[in-house]
């Protein structure tokens, strides 16, 4: 298919669903077809969370995917569980701040992103870890344009939250592919 199937997994509270929503908003603003589907259930902060985002030029058939082109793992158990979902040649993002193990496959592109360090030291705000990862996804895959993100943040961060936009924009650019 002409598009990307993106699967994002981690602990509840890490911004897993938010990262997916941001990509979905950006894709919509770029007039692409998009679907966002969360896992849901008797879940809680610290439990598992994941979501699937489809971005395409053609209407999205199945919002549910059995394999993905881009996999983002925010914690170790997600890497163990979902690494096999990625298609050969796909992009795997590993939150290396808390995931000690390495990818086991050599037929994929692996990107190690030290979200915590980059957020705390480079951006100066530990809460921007998920935006650091979002930036890494955009910078490495080009699934949406970085310029669109300003518009997305203006949509999402309104009123008192508008002052958060510059820091979040900054967080998007601290990780660049090697």
């Amino acid at each position: 298919m002409a598009g990307k199937r993106i699967f994002i997994a981690g602990f509840g509270g890490q911004g897993v669903l938010l990262i997916g929503q941001m990509i979905a908003y950006a894709a919509m603003f770029e007039d692409k077809e998009v679907s966002w589907m969360p896992s849901y259930g008797p879940e809680m902060r610290g439990g598992t969370a994941n979501c699937t985002v489809n971005v395409s030029d053609a209407p999205i058939a199945s919002p549910l995917v059995a394999e993905c082109d881009v996999l983002i793992t925010m914690n170790g158990p997600s890497l163990d569980k979902f690494e096999s979902m990625l298609v050969p040649g796909g992009d795997l993002f590993i939150n290396s701040s808390i995931i000690e193990q390495k990818a086991t496959r050599d037929d994929i592109n692996v990107h190690y992103v030290d979200c915590q360090h980059l957020a705390e030291v480079e951006v100066g705000n530990g809460k921007t870890q998920n935006m650091v990862m979002l930036g890494a996804i955009i910078n490495a895959t080009g699934v949406v344009h970085m310029e669109t993100m300003q518009k997305v943040f203006e949509k999402v961060f309104t009123g008192k939250k508008a002052k958060l936009i510059p820091k979040n924009m900054e967080a998007l650019s601290v990780w660049q592919p090697a």
Binding site: M28, S35, W36, M37, L64
Partner: protein, 358 residues
């Protein structure tokens, strides 16, 4: 063109209902549709409407009876076990010809079941558990956009047919987000308009007409029989006019899939993969579950050798498909149940197995 908004299914359902002029919502919480009452509790009062969290599903239905009797546009929403509890009043509302729109965000059953998406309420929706001769008109959307458009239209159908209309979504469509263009806002009917357009409504007679009464009890059975014959033609009209479906390559295909709702989207993805491998596949997607789209099956061409029903139940829809084709084609089932989902790869693999055996 109106602005595209990225919306969660459940919130989009509620917004579409409000845009259709709905100002009454009654419900009782149940996953996976809780965003509907959450949204309505916040937004309806702002629009001059009324939100009540009822003491039970049955209570919600009784409140709906009252609001619909007074001429209002009413939305109810629940999930599968909640519909089970509402069945008594679906019969009751039908017996007095009151229009309401009911969204069922289906989940795995039976019993309390699971909270993941399901379709094992096909028979519950199309046959119902209420007593007596009645039908519920049942629509089945596959995308959030289609759900919005169907809910919007469902209010008009309910008013035209003076009958409950059920929109069967499932946990996937309820919980996911997609861009949607909302249908335009309609104002609710004014008191004068209700007087004119809903002459049955309990508006108060103001000494200008006979008093209205809405009553389901008929102790003289001759009169009840007469009454049933009086309203029954509307169901024949519904069968003639409301059948709706999407047909893809139905005339030419060797292998015809039949599916509805979110599962039809998984099937479409599987079809792309099968076509790439040279399979000649087609799809009938049911957009109305009742009336069943019989007319779609008249399109089947001479090439057809197999029909494969894909659904999240033990074959409830398949029974209708079998009845429809009367043994002319072998009918197979690809299913998951209990809240487990079909994915495109599983549909491809199981389709190949079915066709190999032949």
């Amino acid at each position: 063109m109106a602005e595209k908004k990225l919306m969660k299914g459940n919130e989009a359902f509620a917004t579409a209902a409000m845009n259709a002029g709905c100002r009454y919502y009654f419900g009782y919480p149940i996953t996976p549709q809780n965003e509907v009452p959450e949204f309505m509790s916040r937004e309806l009062p702002k629009a001059g409407g009324y939100f009540i969290q009822a003491e039970s599903e049955l209570g919600a239905m009784n409140m709906a009876y009252g609001a619909a009797a007074a001429g209002g546009r009413v939305l109810l929403s629940t999930s599968s076990p909640g519909i089970a509890l509402m069945q008594e009043n679906l019969s009751l509302l039908s017996s007095v010809e009151l229009p309401v729109v009911l969204v069922s965000v289906m989940r795995g059953g039976p019993g309390i079941g699971s909270i993941q998406p399901g379709q094992a309420d096909y028979e519950q929706a199309t046959r119902g558990g209420g007593n007596g001769d009645y039908h519920t008109i049942v629509l089945a959307p596959a995308t959030i956009q289609e759900a919005c458009d169907m809910i919007y239209k469902a209010f008009d159908i309910a008013d035209e047919y003076r009958n409950p209309v059920m929109v069967c979504a499932d946990g996937m469509i309820g919980q996911m987000m997609e861009p949607v263009v909302l249908p335009p806002e309609k104002a609710p009917l004014t008191e004068e308009e209700i007087w004119e357009k809903k002459p049955y409504a309990l508006t108060g007679h103001k000494w200008k007409r006979e008093r209205n009464a809405i009553n389901s009890v008929w102790l003289q059975q001759e009169l009840l029989e007469e009454y049933i014959y009086q309203y029954w033609p509307k169901y024949e009209k519904a069968e003639a006019e409301l059948q709706d479906w999407e047909a893809i390559n139905v005339e030419n295909c060797d292998t015809l899939f039949v599916a509805y709702g979110s599962v039809s989207r998984v099937v479409k993805e599987a079809m792309q993969a099968l076509e790439a491998e040279g399979y000649n596949v087609g799809l009938i997607r049911l957009k109305t579950l009742w009336p069943f789209p019989h007319k779609a099956f008249e399109l089947i061409g001479d090439n057809c050798k197999n029909i494969i029903c894909c659904e999240l139940s033990m074959g409830q829809m398949m029974k209708d498909v079998k009845a429809e084709v009367e043994g002319k084609y072998p009918v197979h089932l690809i299913n998951r149940v209990g809240g487990m989902l079909l994915d495109p790869i599983e549909v491809v693999d199981r389709t190949k197995k079915i066709l190999e055996v032949k």
